[in-house]
Each structure stands twice: as C-alpha cells, then as structure tokens.
C-alpha cells in the first residue's frame, strides 16, 4: 500500500491535463503502447506465466466496485484501494494463484478456456518521472469474452497503469481498472484485464 507506485497513483476523477509537447515523450509513449499491446497478446494467447513475468513484484492490481450516488454525493461512487471490498485489490501472490488455478485444468469457470480478445486503445501518458523510469499511462479497453457456445461478455472501461523500467525491461507496478457496471452484468471475472 505504500509502494512508490501507490504513492504516484492518480486519484479517480482527477486526470491531469495533457503533458506539454516533448519529442522525447513520443518514443516513450511508443514503448508503453507496445508493452500494453504485447501484454494483451500474451493474455489472449493464454501465455499466463509470461504475462506474470511482466508484473512488478510489488504490483497493485485494483478494480473498484461502483455504486450510483445522488448528485453532490459522488465521492462515495468508487470503493477505495486498500480498504473494504473491491472486485480486485490484489498483489502478485494472488495473481499468481489465479494463474496456477487456471493451469490446474480443472478450474471449470475457465475450462474450457475462455476465448478472449482485448482491444486496447487510446494509450496516453499522464505522468512521467524526471528520470523517465516510471510512467503513468491511461488506456481504454474493450474486452470480449466468449465461452462455450452461447456465452459472451463484453467489458468496456479504462485502465490507469504505472509502468516501471527495471533492469529486465518495463514492468507493470500498478493497474487500476474502471468498469461501467454497478451490478456486474457478467457472471464471472475469471479473466485478466
């Protein structure tokens, strides 16, 4: 909860204005976008272990629950990271467990495996550390999940990610996933976002 990534998190609803123009950032954004698209490919291709390797050891993986509030009382709309119950508020150990579970071959919610296509778009940089080794990036997603014959779930939302440049390459240090649902209109969240 007090990792550098958590401290750098941008509060929900407080997206800063675009960064000033800077040719150096173009390349950085390209790197970030490639990372995010590669990650989506790994997950679509069910290369879960390789995906796990892209997560920082201190990752925070967070998907709040939303509730509708009256005008003027919207402060309570999202559950908070680090408190109470969210859809996900996880660390690397739990995410690893989720992968291990799928790889047992008897996790029936993912056996047969879901067919998932992640459309990741609108990648932009919200914040960059002075040494350019830590980046906060926003992206939008459309995730379609197919299961067996008739099951289909669509998830639309945004992600705010913190990526950190480590000796082995970029690593995901924090991911915050915002859905549009209040009542979750899918029977399971058995896939990664």
């Amino acid at each position: 909860m007090t990792s550098p990534a958590a401290e750098a998190a941008i509060a929900i609803g407080a997206t800063p204005p675009p960064l000033p123009p800077d040719p150096g950032l173009l390349l950085l954004r390209q790197e970030v976008e490639d990372f995010l698209l590669h990650e989506a490919d790994l997950l679509d291709e069910r290369r879960f272990r390789e995906w796990l390797a892209l997560l920082a050891e201190d990752i925070v993986y967070f998907m709040p629950i939303r509730t509708d509030r009256a005008f003027g009382e919207q402060a309570g709309e999202f559950t908070a990271q680090g408190r109470g119950i969210s859809w996900f508020d996880e660390d690397k150990w739990t995410l690893t467990k989720r992968v291990e579970q799928i790889l047992t071959g008897v996790h029936y919610a993912e056996e047969p495996l879901s067919r998932v296509c992640r459309v990741i778009t609108g990648v932009r940089l919200l914040a960059v550390s002075p040494d350019r080794r830590q980046v906060t990036a926003r992206s939008r997603f459309l995730v379609r999940q197919g299961r067996l014959d008739y099951e289909r779930a669509d998830f639309v939302g945004s992600r705010t990610d913190i990526l950190r440049r480590e000796p082995e390459g970029w690593r995901l240090a924090r991911r915050e996933i915002i859905l549009t649902d209040t009542v979750l209109l899918a029977k399971n969240l058995s896939i990664f976002f």
Partner: protein, 439 residues
C-alpha cells in the same frame, strides 16, 4: 411448460424433483405471489444506515425497497415505488436525505414513507386525494436481528424468531462476535452480480450441498486460504469436528460443526501471526463466555428462502434475488467484527476477495455449474427425467445432538426439506404449517 397446464408438484420425499421448477415462468410467477410476498427476507444491515436519514436500496424478491433510518432513528423498509405512477422515488444506491422526491411529477415522501408533498395539491387534488393512505408501501413487518434487518410483506407473518425456530443458534454463530459477545458485526463491502441461473440452485448449494466439493478441486489443489503461503492447500484450515447437516420446519438448512469437548483452537491464519493471535484469543474468550455452546460453529446455511451465509471465514451473507426463472442477482454482504483490529480486517478482506463472488477463485466455479444446470431444465426430453435427490435418503434423526433434523453424513436431506417448505409456500399453506407449528 405449456400455458394452462398445472404447475408441477414437488414431492421431494420421493427423492426426485421436477426440472420445470428451475426454468418455468409460471413457477417463477407463483413464487413471487406466494413465497417472496410472504416469507421473511434479508434486507440489509444496520451498519449501512448508521445515522438518521441514511438510506440503502435493497430488494425483496423482485420488488425494489428502500432500507432507511428515519428522523427518530427507526429502521424502515419501504417499497421504492411512487404511489402516483410507480416511478422509483430513490435511485441513488446509498446516501443521506430528508425526503424522497419522485422524479416524475415530484410527489415527495418523508423518511417514514409519508406522502408530504404533492405539487399543486390545492388546485388539483383538494378534497379528493387522501394523502394519509398514499404513503410509500411499508413492509408488513420488519425485524432487526443482531445488526441484520429482515422484512416480510405479510403483516400476518409470525415473529422473525418463530420463523427462524431452531436455526437460531446457527445464525447466531454467523452474526455474533468471534469472541462470543452478541452481534457486533459490520458490512465492509457488497458484491452485486448477475448469475444466469435459477435462484434455487444457489440457495440449495449453501444449505448444505457439501457433495459439490469436487467442483472446487482447482482451488483445493493450489491453496488460497489464510495459511496457503505457509504451504497449506485447500480453501482454509479444516478443524477436527463432527459435521452436522440440519434442516428445520421453515425450510432452513445448515451445515455446522461441533468441536470436540476440549474445543481446542485450530490455527487458521498461519500466514499472519497477528491475525492468528487475534483469532486464537477470540476463540478462548468465546469458549469462556459460552462454555459448551461454543462447540457449535456455523459453516454454511440458507435461511429460507434466499439468504445464505458463510459462518466462519470468509464470513458473509449472500442473498439470491430472483430476476427471472433463469436469472439471479446475487448480493454478498461481507461481515467482520466492527471492533477487530484494522490489520485483521485487512487480512480478512483480502481473503474474502480472492474466495468469493464473481472474482472469487472458489465461487466462479459455482456460477458455472448453476448456469448449465439451469439450462438443462428447458428441453422437453431433458424434463422427462427429474433431478435425483436420493442422497442419504432417510439417514437423519430428530434433535440429536442439536434441535432439528440432523444428518451426520453428507446428505440431500436439507434440500429435500427446502423443497418441501417451498411447495407448502407455493400451495399457500397457512403460517402455522409453514413454520412447523401446526401439530
């Protein structure tokens, strides 16, 4: 089921149950009329509405209700439907207010449901509209029980305590403080999600379908409990105990445990010494306070018809709201002791999130099964074969070692009893018969 044909009759004592009851629209409609409109239903928890003016939107069957605390501190359960054209008068899910003002034509109601504002009343309604009889429809009866709030639409329903009957000590083991003091729980979060399945599959699962454990093989193989990092597989540390499956006249069913006479503490939080010490201390205090009664602990259960619980950890109440014959809106209220140390609450909430609900590693597999079991109730050929409920048929005895019909082996007796009570509700039986007071 074709229109006009009689509803299927459920005679679970035969060991078989017709599939139609899990997919028929006519059965679903009858359930709303004769079951959900009469039975005591879980509405919420007082920790959601601590101050006057606080409200929380809930449901009773397919009816939307407002759970609120009025200016006098009284807990109210009101139908969330304007008396004019039915619009929902409250649409924010939680908050604090003095009035519920209808968005449609602006009739407004106070926190006790009284109609207190009608635009242009004098010009348009003078001498015609009787405001006093046009309040928001209140629940017939409301009961507060150890922090939880229950209600029934039927003003003639028996007291909640009579409706509970002998399931009460099991429910107490869910709602009471881990150290044995009465009550003291708070809700730390709520899951709400859609399961494309009949609500009864979920209710039945929790009232004691221990036989479905193989569906959770994946979590049991990898270990996800609070001792998993210390090398324990499974979903939790199992304590040495006599398992009991108990059913009750009102239709409730539970899976509970009786600890050995010396009732030792079983480590269950090996990954976190602070949480382990806390729960070991709570256990000792509970034994000291309750003595022999402390040997009972609640594992899972369903308070008829649709309020299920996990009594130990992850601890919570799950309500299976019927949306349609093939759709259920599940709500889980996660419970902790309000005065537990912040660190302990943090350990618990993390366990709850990875175990429960649509993102939970355990319950994802439940939803998968209920969906496809429901779908299997549609086809005319499939329907010719009723579901088999013969497991441990006849293997139970009354009142030994606890009140109720007790099985000491894994059984479908709780389910058979549930569907017996369900049938009595669908038949519109009188209350004494519905709660086993008719003999």
């Amino acid at each position: 089921m074709p229109d006009g044909s009689p509803l299927p009759t459920c005679r679970p004592e035969t060991g078989f149950i017709p599939r139609e009851i899990f997919s028929s629209r006519a059965v679903f409609d009858r359930e709303q009329e004769t079951l959900f409109a009469r039975a005591w239903l879980f509405v919420g928890h007082e920790s959601l509405i601590p101050r006057p003016g606080d409200y929380f939107l809930s449901r009773m069957g397919i009816e939307p209700v407002i759970l609120c605390r009025d200016e006098a501190g009284e807990v109210r359960v009101l139908l969330n439907s304007c008396r004019h054209r039915g619009m929902r008068v409250c649409r924010a899910e939680r908050g604090n207010t003095r009035h519920f003002t209808c968005p449609y034509h602006a009739w407004s109601y106070d926190l006790s449901g009284r109609l207190v504002g009608v635009p242009m009343r004098r010009q348009l309604y003078e001498g015609v509209l009787d405001e006093a009889s046009h309040g928001l429809v209140p629940a017939g009866r409301v009961a507060r029980y150890k922090g939880t709030v229950w209600a029934t639409w039927d003003a003639e329903a028996p007291d909640f305590a009579a409706y509970l009957g002998d399931v009460r000590p099991h429910l107490d083991a869910v709602l009471d403080h881990r150290d044995g003091r009465e009550g003291g729980s708070e809700v730390i979060g709520i899951h709400r999600w859609i399961i494309p399945a009949n609500w009864k599959f979920a209710a039945e699962n929790f009232l004691g379908d221990t036989y479905h454990n193989p569906s959770h093989a994946s979590v049991d193989l990898i270990g996800i409990g609070p001792s998993a990092r210390s090398g324990r597989t499974g979903r939790r540390d199992e304590q040495p105990a006599q398992h009991l499956w108990v059913s009750f006249p009102s239709g409730h069913g539970v899976h509970s445990l009786i600890a050995p006479p010396d009732n030792p503490y079983t480590p269950a939080f090996r990954d976190d010494p602070e949480a382990e010490a806390h729960f070991a201390r709570c256990h000792e205090e509970r034994v000291r306070r309750l003595g022999e009664a402390a040997r009972l602990s609640a594992f899972t259960g369903t308070i008829f018809p649709n309020a299920s619980y996990h009594g130990r950890q992850p601890r919570g109440i799950c309500v299976w709201h019927p949306n349609g014959p093939e759709e259920t809106e599940a709500w889980r209220f996660f419970l902790v002791d309000a005065d537990a140390p912040a660190h302990v609450k943090d350990v618990l909430r993390r366990y709850y999130m990875r175990y429960s609900g649509p993102a939970g590693m355990t319950e994802q597999d439940d939803a998968e099964n209920w969906l496809y079991a429901t779908a299997a109730c549609r086809g005319p050929i499939s329907r010719r074969q009723p579901f088999n409920y013969q497991q441990s048929l006849g293997a139970w005895r009354r009142g030994d070692p606890v009140p109720g019909d007790v099985s000491l082996q894994i059984t479908e007796q709780n389910a058979r009893n549930f569907y017996r009570a369900w049938q009595a509700h669908l038949d519109g039986a009188p209350w004494p018969a519905l709660i086993g007071q008719d003999t």
